[in-house]
Every structure is written in C-alpha cells, then in structure tokens.
Subunit: 346 residues, 4 copies
Amino acid sequence: MGKIDMSKYQIRTDLVLDELDIVNDDTIKIDKRKIDDITVTDVLVKDEFENILRKKKGRYITIEYEDVTDYNNRNKVIKVFSDELGKLLDNLNINNNDECLVIGLGNEKSTPDALGPKTIDNILVTKHLFQLKGNKVESGFRCVSAFNPGVMGVTGIETSELIKSLILTLKPKFIIVVDALAASSVSRVNKTIQMTDSGIHPGSGIGNSRKEISKEVLGIPVIAIGIPTVVDAVTIVSDTIHYMIKHFSYMEKNINNPSNRLAVKKVNYLKKKINELNVNDKKKYMGLLGELNEDEIHSLIYEVLSPINYNLMVTPKEVDFIIDKQSEVLSSGINSVLHKKVNLEK
Amino acid sequence: MGKIDMSKYQIRTDLVLDELDIVNDDTIKIDKRKIDDITVTDVLVKDEFENILRKKKGRYITIEYEDVTDYNNRNKVIKVFSDELGKLLDNLNINNNDECLVIGLGNEKSTPDALGPKTIDNILVTKHLFQLKGNKVESGFRCVSAFNPGVMGVTGIETSELIKSLILTLKPKFIIVVDALAASSVSRVNKTIQMTDSGIHPGSGIGNSRKEISKEVLGIPVIAIGIPTVVDAVTIVSDTIHYMIKHFSYMEKNINNPSNRLAVKKVNYLKKKINELNVNDKKKYMGLLGELNEDEIHSLIYEVLSPINYNLMVTPKEVDFIIDKQSEVLSSGINSVLHKKVNLEK
Amino acid sequence: MGKIDMSKYQIRTDLVLDELDIVNDDTIKIDKRKIDDITVTDVLVKDEFENILRKKKGRYITIEYEDVTDYNNRNKVIKVFSDELGKLLDNLNINNNDECLVIGLGNEKSTPDALGPKTIDNILVTKHLFQLKGNKVESGFRCVSAFNPGVMGVTGIETSELIKSLILTLKPKFIIVVDALAASSVSRVNKTIQMTDSGIHPGSGIGNSRKEISKEVLGIPVIAIGIPTVVDAVTIVSDTIHYMIKHFSYMEKNINNPSNRLAVKKVNYLKKKINELNVNDKKKYMGLLGELNEDEIHSLIYEVLSPINYNLMVTPKEVDFIIDKQSEVLSSGINSVLHKKVNLEK
Amino acid sequence: MGKIDMSKYQIRTDLVLDELDIVNDDTIKIDKRKIDDITVTDVLVKDEFENILRKKKGRYITIEYEDVTDYNNRNKVIKVFSDELGKLLDNLNINNNDECLVIGLGNEKSTPDALGPKTIDNILVTKHLFQLKGNKVESGFRCVSAFNPGVMGVTGIETSELIKSLILTLKPKFIIVVDALAASSVSRVNKTIQMTDSGIHPGSGIGNSRKEISKEVLGIPVIAIGIPTVVDAVTIVSDTIHYMIKHFSYMEKNINNPSNRLAVKKVNYLKKKINELNVNDKKKYMGLLGELNEDEIHSLIYEVLSPINYNLMVTPKEVDFIIDKQSEVLSSGINSVLHKKVNLEK
C-alpha cells in the first residue's frame, strides 16, 4: 500500500472547541456553563498548549446554541453574547470611553464569507460625530469607527497591511475583528460564536491566508469574534466516515438487545468524541481505511478529491437567511457593549 | 448488523449522464461528439429505459466543458450551446416566429439556486413591443416573454400551477425552462449543460419538489435547460468513498511497478465508471462498508448525517462568480437562438 | 405670446389628497382624525366626483406622518396603518379566513419603485402549508400567497393580464396590491400611506401605464395600498414656483411689521392651499409666468424640460434607507391584519 | 421686499464646463475638439482663474457624449476616454510601470452615488500577484491596487485620512480617484466625463464634504475622474426658470414670423448660455423673480424648499441601468490605460 503524504492536508478549523475534541489533557482548564440551552465554554490557552491545541495563547470564549432564526432564541443568544463580550472587555481593562475600531473581514459578495461585512453594516459608528467641531456627543456613546477592508483578490491589498495603516491613522484603543470561521465539524456550523483576545492568525477564515492581526503585531488589544459558516469538503467526508464507524459499533452492540432498539434514532453521533474506538473494530468496519489515523484519512480524502480542481465548501441551503440572522446577533451584541445607551430590548 | 432502510434515501441527480455512468445497457443509443475540448452527448431515452435511467423519455443533449470563466472559453461554449439548442428546436418543428415564454426556476436569493432567475434577467423580451398598437417589430425578432415564478416558500404558490395559468393567458407556442440542477457527481458541477425536450419533473433542482412541467401536462413543447450547480452532502461523501476504493486498488496494483509511479498523479479517478471493482477488493479496502451496495451506502450516509438537522449542499467557494458566468452562457445562447438578429459575436 | 398646448402635460398624482388640495367642493364628505401626530383622512369618492377628483369612486383612507425611520415613530405608524386596514377589510365584509393574494407592483431594481417587491419579500405566506396533505395549519393564520409580477420591460408581459390569470388559478377571496405612488407635492413624498378599495388604474406608479386592477375587472375586492416615493421634475419646479409666490406675498405683508420677523422661519409654505393668491399679486411677483394657470405652468415646464430627453424623478438622497423602512411598515401592518396570530409588539 | 440671504446657498457643481458657461473671459484658453459626436474640451485653469472658475488650478479634460447605453456608442466613448486618460498620464510623466492605486469614492448602497464603488469592482488589480514570492507577473501588466473607502456615515472615518494612511502603506506612484459628481445643469447629467490632475476638493460629490485629495496634500499625482449623476432640486428649478425666460423671449421674437414656426421645436434651450437676457425682458417675463440675479434665485429656491426638510436629488428614472453602463465605461477605459495587455476590442 502506498504511503500517504501526511504533510499534504490538515483539516482547517478556527475553533478551539474542535481542537479540544481531539486533545485530552486534564491540565487545560475549561470552564463550562449553561444558560438555558446555551452553553458557554471559557478556555485559557497558555503558552505550553499553543502547539497541542494549534491555537495561539489567549482566552477563548465559545457560545454554543441551537438556533438564531427564531426571534426569541436570537434575543437570548444576543444577551449571552453581549454579557460575555462585556466581561472580556472588562478583563482586558478596556474602559467605557476607549475608542474602538470594528473590522469586518471576508468577501461581501460570497454569502458564507460575508458575515464580517454584513455585521459591519449595522455597527453604530460615531467617530465622525466626535470630530465635528462644537459637537458634543451624548454621553453613553463611545467613539466607534468601522471598516471592511475587502479581500485581496478584489483590492490587491494585503488585509493586515491595510489594518496596520488604519490603526496608525485612527489610533483606536482596541479593535474588534469579525470574521466567518471554518469548523472541523459540521455540527458546529452556524451554531457557535467564538471570541478571543488572541487575534486572528494566518489561514483563518475560508481558506484565505492573511497575516496575523493581534496585540503582538498591532500594540493594542484585538478581540476576534467569529462564527463558523462553512466546513470544507474534506471535513464533511471525514466526519461522515467517523459517524459511520460509530454507527456500526453502536448497531452491533445494540441490535440484539430489543429494549435498545427504540433508542437508535435518538443517538446523536455528532456530539460524541471521535478518537475512542479500538483499532480492531475500526479495521473490521472500515478495512484498510480503518487502519489509517485521523490525519492520514484527511490527506487521503484531500488527495482523491483534488482532481476535481475545485475549492469546495459545505453550507446549509438556507445560508443567505442564516448569515443575515447571525450578523444581526453580532452587530446587536457589539453595539450594546460598545454604547451603554444602546438598549438590547428594542 | 442492522439492516439499513433502503427506502430512505436515493441520491438526487437531474443528469442523464449520471445515470448512464451506472447503467450498462448497449441498447441505449448514445451519440457522442467532440468540438475542441467540449463534448456533446446526445441520448434518446425511450419508453423502455425510463425506469432504468430514472429519466422521463425524451431527447437529452449534454454539453460538457471545463471552464466558462475565461472569456474565450465562454464564447466557445456559448457557440456550441446555441447550435445544439437551435437543432433541438428545429427537431421539434418549432418555427422562427413561434412565440416563446422563457421561465427561470429557483430562488434568486440563494446563489447556487439563482441560475434560472439570473438567466431570465438577460433574456431579450419583446412581447410587450409586439402588443403596442401600430408598432411593427423589426423582422429577426421573435415574440418572447420571460418570467421568474419564485419559490413556494416565498410566494406560497405552487410553481407548476403558476406556469399553467401563465400559459393559458399568454398562449406561447413553446416554453424554455431554465433551472439549477443537482448532480450525483461533484466532477460535473458547473461543467455541464443539459437540455431536453422531456420537461421538468418533481424533485428536480435543489431539493424543492415541484410538480411536472412538460408537454404532456401543458400541451406545448417544453425545453428544459439546466446546469448542475450543487451536489448534496451525501453525494460528496459517497463519491469520495468510491474514489478511495479506486485509489487503494490502483495503488496496490501499481505501487510495485516503478515505471508507473510517475503516472499516479495523472489518474483522474473522477472520470472512471463506478461499479467496477470486485466485491472482495471492496471488502478488503473498506471492511463492512465495502459490503454495502451503492444505495445502501447512500442511505447509511444520509442516516448518520441526519442528526445535524441541516440541509447541506456542496459548492465551489467562488460560486457567486461562477453562477454569473454560467447564466451569461445560457442567456446569450438562448437570445441568439430565439432572435435571428442577435449576433453572438458582439 | 405663443399659446401653450394644454393637452400636453398634466401633473401625475395617485393621491386623492393632492386632488382635494385643488378642488373645493363642500359636498365631498371628508373625515379627518388625529392620532398623536399622525393624521387619518377618510374620503368617500362618489360617482359624481370621479371626474372632479380624477380618482375612481371608492373609499380612500390616507395616513399622514412625519417619519418612519425612528423605531418608535415607525411602530406608531404601523399600529395606525394596521387598525385602518383592518377596518377597511371589515367594511368590505372580508372574513378572517378569506384567502388573500398580496401583489407587489414595481421594479425591484429601481429603488424608489421597489416598494411593492420589498414589501412582498416580508409577507408571511401560508398557502403552500394549507395545501400540504395531512397538514393542519395552526388557527390564527389565514391562507395567504404573495407575488411580484415584475415590470413589462423585463418580462414582456402585461401586469394586469398576469394578475388576471393568477386569480383564475389561485381563486383568492380578495387581493391586496402594494405599489409605489407618484405625488403632485413633494411634501407628501414618503410621508403618506394611501389605501383604497377602488383598485389600481392606468398611469399609476412611476409612469408605467398598466391596465386597471379592480373589483370591476377581477370580480373580487381589490385593496390598493401605496406610498408616494417620488415626484417628477415638473412637480418640483411647479411646487417651488408656488412657494416663491407665497413667499413674496408673505414677505411683503410682514416685512414691515417687526413683531412678525421672528416668525418668518416658521412658516411652512408647503402646508398651505395653492390656488389662493389674487391674480394681480401673481403677475407682480412672477410677470408673464404669474398670468398662467396651474395646468399652463405644468405644460410650460414640461415643454422647456423635454429637450433634455430624460425621464427625471426627484427623491430624497437617502431613498434606499427610507424605502426599506416604508416597506417594513407595510409588511408588518399587512401581516398583523391578515394573520391574527401575528403580534405587532414583537 | 425682504432681502434674501445670499450666503445661504450656492449651487453645487463639480464641472468646470458649468463654470465656463457663466464666466466669459477670453484669456482662459479652451481647446475643443470633436470626435464623431463626442466633444473633448481641454481647459487649463491657471492660478489667476481659481476664484473666477471656483475650480482649483490644473488641467481639466471633459468628454461630452449623448449615450452610453448602446453597445457601439459605449465603445466609442470608452475609446475616446481611454485615449485622453493615456495622454493625461503621459503629460504628468507617469511611466508604464509606475504603481497605481485606484480609489472609488461614494456610497455603494445609494445608486447615483455608487459610480465609484461600481467602477472599482471591475478594476483589474495585480498588486497581490506582484507580491507573491517567486511569481513573475506577465509583462504588460502594471502593479495596481483598488479600494473603496466607504462613506463617513457608515464607517465613521474621514475619507481623506483613510486615503492618506493607505498611501503611506502602499506607496503608489500615483492615484486615480473615481467619484460621482454634481452638475449645475441637468443637461450634463450622465453625459459628461470630467478628468483632472487637480484632485478632489471639499464639497465634491453628492453633498458629502470631504477634505482635499490632491498632489499638494498627498505628494503624488492625483487624477480625479468623475461623471455627474445627479443635480439637486435647486438646480432643476433654477434651470427650468432660465429655460422659461428663454422660451418666452424666443416665442415673442419668432411667433409672428411664420417661417420660424417650424423651428420652434428644434430649439435646444439647454445648450444656450444662461446670463444673456436683458434685465427688462427678465422683469417682464418673470416679475420680481426676474429682478433677482442667479445666486439670489438659488438662495430663494433653497429657502422655500427647506421646510420640506429633505435633501432632494434629481435623477433619470433608469438610474440603476445608466450607472452600470457609466461604470463600465470608466473601468474598461482605466484598465486599458493601466495595463498595456488589456485590449479594448474584446
């Protein structure tokens, strides 16, 4: 059997939760809370975990929810998001009057990548009002500007360079960067907000490599907020293969136990940890495929799909509608945190 | 091992070529021609093949091409498409002055499903000019109207009902229906135009069940023109599993033959027929999975993916750009066939 | 002095209020009410007034407001609109379960004309749910479908023909037609909702002649709802000339009375009746121009502007934003009247 | 009669041709050429004319045409525009390999103001390709980046500041700025391209005050290219009043001369110089209004319109379609001048 080149492909994910699914290390401190059916996970990635978790050190707050297309659910998610973002800013010693620049990454012409630009469209900007002579902006409003740098294929300009130059000119005290993320598990797509003080790093987003946008590089706090809106084709295939193995395993164990039969439908394979089956079972269910480890499977999928020559993504069919609602969550939450006068209950 | 419910899922495809990949029947007459790197396949589906090919009887002309994003390639594809459409109309005894209604199916707000509405936007309509009193439309222009019925979730109206009522009112001599299609193979997505005189049948498009739109129902010739713009998640997984089996098989046979090594990269697994491996090989490579037949694999994939609760589709990331170009191909070609005065070389 | 051809141009207005500004006839019964700063005017145009008011007989309810871009103001207007529409339906003996078809007229690609299509986008349609087998739609929801017929230049199809055919197929009990209107006074643009049971008549909207859409023609009640979103260039010039005459008159009378000087700024010339100045004053202020009557002035303006060869319209610069809000008012109000379960206080 | 406050309102125009209509000074050198039915006017505004012409010193090239909606006409205009732009760059000693940044001013969400952003969308950018390691961009392509800074009400950021910071970062050799202009005459709207090496100055565009963007401020050549897409309401009224005066004058002189009657229709009042009637005639035709000078009339119109509280603009009804075509002219022309390999005859 030919060796698979492991260097070829590593599944992309921007989510620390995806990494935590794989890594089992009790020394990583994870704080998990439930607010109704919304889960908030707070992880501090320390220096020593950077390589294991493939995430830069910093605090990662993840909000998991089932749905934001319903008006009431959406308001609940906005409330939780707004509370967590507020605490994150407090934690970074950002004051109520510190000027903020909000940046939306991504391509506004490509629906799943338009989360950043769509969010920016509804950010309440005030910087121009603060600069009017003789104008006194009502208290309760912070000095805020907002910006979509566009994508390099359209502007020819490196996003990180553009942001650097903007910060030199505007001199904000901190920035918030909103971006569509990639997940390594389809079950998290459009159901997760991740925010972190570690910034944005190359390879984030839907496959556009951008240079780092972080406090280290820019000298001011960078809060990165994102929602996974796509998985790539390798992910969906790899996910499915894992679900099939679990399915085989589950069926074999339960099929002769009549009392369990009714339970079959309720099993949610997607919520289970992945690397838990023994090697012999895998081999039985999946033959040669079962002998490969996670990364080898990814590389194999990538290799057999590459002749199609397409950069494939997987999204829900209603992606236009969903992205609208997700961006509404982000802009409402950000506005209410940035401006004390903005009231969530409208 | 638990039985998989075979009735659950059958992979969706609107392409007769996808079916021909599976069915081997020498009595089906297929005419295949090459024009530069464009392939034209002409298949007559007779009564007796309707069930085997899961396609209604009629003539199916398929144009396969690699790219329409390049200006020159696009013009070549437009030319071939226009020639074939012209011949199809001649074949149906449609005259130069027969009034035509062009209908675009699909949801204009969802990019991959917007092929129909986008094409309609550029159809040269003239019916209102023909109806002006005292107005004599220049010869070389046919009486053409065009229409987007929208999707049922937005209008609440069954598309086929709407079209029926429109035909009663407008009384065209024939209709052309443009729609985004689903393919069962990712390699055909955005690389295939299918046109047929058999009309549109329930379940076509991206999973919206619509009632039949055909000569049988409407009483006038219906030419359906479509391009596959998505595959569903089940398809991409199923395709990949097949490619993996072939990959294993190929590697095993060739890996010890040094002279073949260089050729490995060039193998296009996607163009090969699917059901050709022997059962023992499949079992070896894929374990229990290898023992399942095509339909069982689909049902299994569908079953393990269903807890995600999402209606997933797979598209190229540049889908916005690609759909623009594909709709340009269709509208340019249709305009030049409908109106003799419209010149392709503009 | 050359005679001006009076047949050439008559200023377009779809508003009965515009006509009432000109016509002084005490026998026309007008009911006017104030709800906060919103004015509701209820006029019954009888047979004998059709020619005088240049409006077809029927009931015309007009809601005048200052602003719908503010969230609270908008909610007030929605409430009043919803109440009045509900009363109009009751008056026509339309029951809670009577099926409704909502139609949006106008060109969705041209912002000021997109009011109808934008409203339709947010109508809650249910007809497809009522038609699902075995499905029982929750009580409190009416059977509603919605539709944008598009404009004739794009479809080649006469709008009224299309609607007729749709009604034959769908068999609704009544229809609501939403359209952008033209006003003859710039002060009413985007500040007036007119609804009437008299339907839509040729020449309505932004200069697109459409055939009548009314109970007489269709056999079922037709409620037409519209907001003026533009005035034409002739209107703005003619309005301004009138304001100038009033300005001259006012200044002359008040300039020597120091106590009145401060009041000058507060005079709202736009709210005053037009034809009230004496002829000698007009002549003094405006020379030959002042000797012309209303219609002669319109024809003159039209004549001197025609060499520009443009079909000019006048809109506020923020028209995109304003149309979004106006369509939100209409869709929210219509939804809450059609479906008892839809609650205005969301 | 009360004094009108002259400081209140001065009609906005960005066109040097509009100023030349008013100013009669033989020492201003104007070079006028005809290419088919396209007129090219080349004016050098010297220091001493800055105040008279209310335009900053520099070279102003104006291209006047009747129509760009027709394919052939459009190609002719593109050719002339491209030739003139090429000569302007040569004149500024800009070399074929000098890096260029193209900037689109204006609000992409407001159709008449979207000319800049729409043009940018079709600029062929290459800077990211020049920066790829090991990549050698084909000769014939210049290093080009492109950017839409957005409008201050949306970003909170002063456009000129943003551009300054961008130039510090990207270090282009020159910039091209594309913007929608205001005209003081409706006859020039959408029929004029103005380009100048004097840059952009406060108050340009549709009423958004922006700080200066010029060689003086930025240190590199700034070529400003614009097309007037709107006039304001004051302009259309003021224009019409002038046309009416000329109309009265013309009619009076010609009405008794039967041989002239046929000519009446052909008179294009719009092309005639404005300030040429004698005061007595004006008074006779227009009464008190005729006694006011140009600026007093503007202030009066502005004053009587201001109670409407609207920022009104006048555009053709087909503005969406026209802006698309105008931006195509600009992007095609700019691409062919910037990249020698881009061929106009596609």
